[in-house]
Symmetry: D2
Subunit: 326 residues, 4 copies
């Protein structure tokens, strides 16, 4: 029998991503509209353990849809990886009369949620929020589109100076083990070459390719290096290329944490709002241990275990082929 | 029997949209890579009639992926609506040995292409390029995402001043008969109400809604009005609302043509590149009178007649429901 | 004898401008650092009359330096224009033990401050905050640089579509009776012509100029029209030009209130911080009925009466000459 | 006796800066308007030696005012540091009948110009173009304002993620030996501390300051490190701080070359246009071996030798004081 849900909790966990605030707003406002109470849990799973809770009303989420980061903060939490930790968390939830949870985050967040909801009788729905776009079950994760735009704005700027000096730039972008941002940025940024974790590229092949291209013509070019690339990062790759082309002016740029911030794009705000809205509806429909995601143009659910374990590569074959041609 | 394709022409027609240049670039580079020649046709169908042609090489499309507008220009062309006009166009194509066409544009562009390819033996593939997102066969048209972002950046700015003065703003956005931009902007911009062409909203209902909301609390709010809304535009709606709330400070903002320009977003650049790449491949595969589009996360084709005639509404039901709640 | 200052009040009044928050932050933090207490006064002079006060600490102004609008809100206030209204305001200040005021705003704000400080013994320092840049005593007013950038970003977008369609655009920009934004935008935006309030331009002369230029070459161009221009606004000017060039495609864009919002530029944040810092120091030095401003690269004070009455035109002669040439 | 000037050459040299294109455009259009011919010299002084010249007309500089980088390219040139190199350059100028030069760049560019114009009878006017703002004779150099805005946009993004995770960020910004960008970014970005080349800061003092502030409160903060800071760069400083606060989460971000690119701000476009306009007028007035600059709100000239040798520090005392307080 499904216990009636009167109050839900919402938290953000793992790396922050632009659009998390828009998602929190949608969870809170949808839940209030459906007659639920909502508790904001601060600092992810750490906040569950510390009972770092705050009741949310409509005004708690006013004027945040356009803000980067997360008003609920986020943190990594080792204690929640232990049964003892999760027990404390559960007791806190009971004490606060929170009947269900919406968790916004990535891989690690979902893994924690899976353990927690199996051990204790607490319905949980996960929402994929990470700039890395490395989760199964949603074509896009919250924050990915904003990060892509941040990256190409940076590349557009770097191209200005690269072209003025006829330089070769190695630009390292985020994404952990996923090459989604790198592939996207490479195509949208008009890069000469893209090094991806999902696809081995020998440095010698890169060098030959560059020899045929920009370096021969003495013009500028940009090589995108995913942070998860096997070769060892942009500095290493640049050094190896430089050994071969010592007469050529090369520079490295590690875009870094600015990729995590910024006002979310229209796409991320709408995606985040849709997923927050859907998550509350799923909880009210009695569903648990699932994630909500956008597939095609529709919102679909995925069992949380599948969302974690399915390592399907998200790089479209046409994009990979285009990367060679354009 | 399919005639061998050696040279293709590419043109942009109708209203311009950000990402058209990225699309032209992909068409040109893919075609060159596949051993084809490419002719750029200036000013849309007018350029077909005037034989306003220019051979394109790799460098013709260098450094344009990030630029708004279209380097091939665009124009409306009455003459192409006549059989005589299309005959001239065909003769020009033959004289220039152009074997197939890629046309980038909207409804009117596809209608012209349909007539033309039926009358004459010329393979044509259409690519949906319009900020209005009003074409069947692709979840997104080229330029729509950029326009959405331009609109929400404007709304974010307007909200700053609305909140400082506690004013009510009526913001009119583009989209012709489609409410896609308005609905998206309303949700992403956190609007109080959204007036859409696809959904009748009596002004009295709007007034009641505003009475319950912002005006009672004397805070700011924003009403999005689609340019195709039946009520007659933002000025008219604002006037009607003002009659009722004469003590309340209301302002109107017509965002206008800035919605058509700007550097394309990452999403639009990648979409445009994928569709340009696909269009050339379809031509080489012997297909004609089709459009290419993104459906879900895959590139799909649609018969051009269906793309024109299918008037399916593209507003997702969950978005419409959310518009009431958030 | 100068009364010792223990507590100051700060308010924003008149039209809001980006950077007002950065200025409030600087006033609050500088005052606290110097051992003063600070009261935020909401909704400008209306808040003085309504005793709409709130004590400010360091955290009250955290994370606002980058935000458009004003957290203290602003309003126009008729009652403060009467002696009775100002008497109420004074009594409220006394009751709250506020010893001095920093007022951020424009012409009208300074006029009110001048009356008020003459009638009652209350030291007041004014800070020029308005996008119009129409105040004597500071080369730049807070918000002007941000508005200039908002305008040229809009013009850059409009130029994309103007160039694609070879159209003539009339773009109306804000500035009330001042042509500062228009002149700046015209030069920075590469406009074909600029209509300014400070300089009569006969529409016939504009037409001749356009005939010689863009229209003859059938290319695109942009005409900037200041909202204070004598000819009657962009719609009227466009209509007149259209009568002469009926074959030519003309469009009008009224940029509107988005010019008032947005995250302040680096320049405006630093200017606002400097002026807020200086205003508190001036109050502590026993000065009153002055405004602080940036002249050259230094902060200077101006008697508030001179700031109001001096109508010196702020358009640099070289800019006016360049407008004809570039 | 002053030789009549019929043709001038224009080049960009040293590091590129946003606004150089707007400046080239102003030089070309002003010169053409005054009846001169204009030659574009590619790749700075290297182009003088290689006679890499191209005649410029009005259309050569169309649609570039908004573009980052420099269409004339730039390069460093060792050969021009030799008398032999400069002799070749001079012969090329004579052969091309170029009577005077406008050079846009920084310190090194002006030093080269000074030597060259002393050795040979060629009038030269320098225009300060560098993001570093490290030249005497102009309150602002071309590109500095754009770089400041690029930096604060990056800091705003980093602050989003810093605040969500309660982290301490060390952000390294450009500026070579000048702390202008760092000081400006620190104030406009609301930084906790700023390390400048012009002012020694012991790491122990930084640590004490951080201890009193953010770290004690366990909130986020940002430390700006100028690349020219004596302590040895952001990585080193972060490492030292980390040794003391090993429980605290610190991150480093080197903003890098994106600071050199991007569409110039309104301020930089107008500044660049004014200086380009002024440089041509100075040449026509028979002046040489000077630079043009903005001082206060007026265009002023400075002998090129003074522009090079005067090492006056450009950090305003009030900004330095504010950096401690805000």
């Amino acid at each position: 029998m499904i216990k009636e849900i009167k109050k839900i909790g919402v938290l953000t966990s793992g790396g922050d991503a632009p659009g998390m605030n828009a998602c929190i707003r949608a969870v809170v406002r949808t839940a209030l509209h459906k007659g639920l109470q909502v508790t904001g849990i601060y600092q992810g799973y750490q906040g569950l353990i510390d009972a770092n809770f705050k009741e949310m009303d409509t005004r708690s989420v006013s004027n945040i849809i356009q803000r980067g980061g997360t008003i609920l903060k986020t943190a990594r939490c080792l204690e929640f990886k232990t049964t003892e930790g999760r027990k404390i968390a559960y007791d806190n939830l009971k004490a606060a009369e929170i009947d269900a949870l919406v968790v916004i985050g990535g891989d690690g967040t979902f893994t924690g949620a899976n353990f927690f909801s199996k051990e204790f009788e607490i319905p949980i729905v996960g929402i994929p929020g990470t700039i890395d776009n490395d989760l199964y079950g949603s074509d896009y994760t919250i924050g990915y589109d904003t990060a892509n735009n941040t990256v190409i704005e940076a590349i557009d700027k770097i191209r200005d100076t690269a072209a003025s000096h006829e330089r070769l730039f190695f630009v390292e972008v985020m994404g952990r083990d996923s090459g989604c941002i790198a592939l996207n940025a490479g195509i949208a940024g008009g890069a000469e070459a893209i090094l991806l974790p999902e696809k081995e590229t020998a440095i010698d092949d890169l060098i030959s390719h560059l020899e045929d291209g920009a370096i021969k013509k003495k013009s500028s070019s940009i090589v995108i290096v995913a942070e998860g690339d096997q070769n060892g990062g942009a500095y290493y790759v640049a050094k190896k290329v430089k050994e071969k082309f010592d007469h050529y002016d090369t520079k490295v740029s590690i875009l870094g944490h600015l990729q995590r911030g910024g006002s979310p794009t229209s796409f991320d705000r709408v995606l985040a709002s849709r997923l927050g809205f859907a998550a509350v509806n799923e909880i009210l429909a009695g569903n648990t241990r699932i994630t909500v995601g956008l597939r095609g143009n529709e919102i679909k659910t995925t069992p949380i275990e599948e969302a974690i374990s399915n390592k399907e590569i998200k790089l479209s074959p046409d994009l990979l082929e285009m990367a060679e041609i354009l």
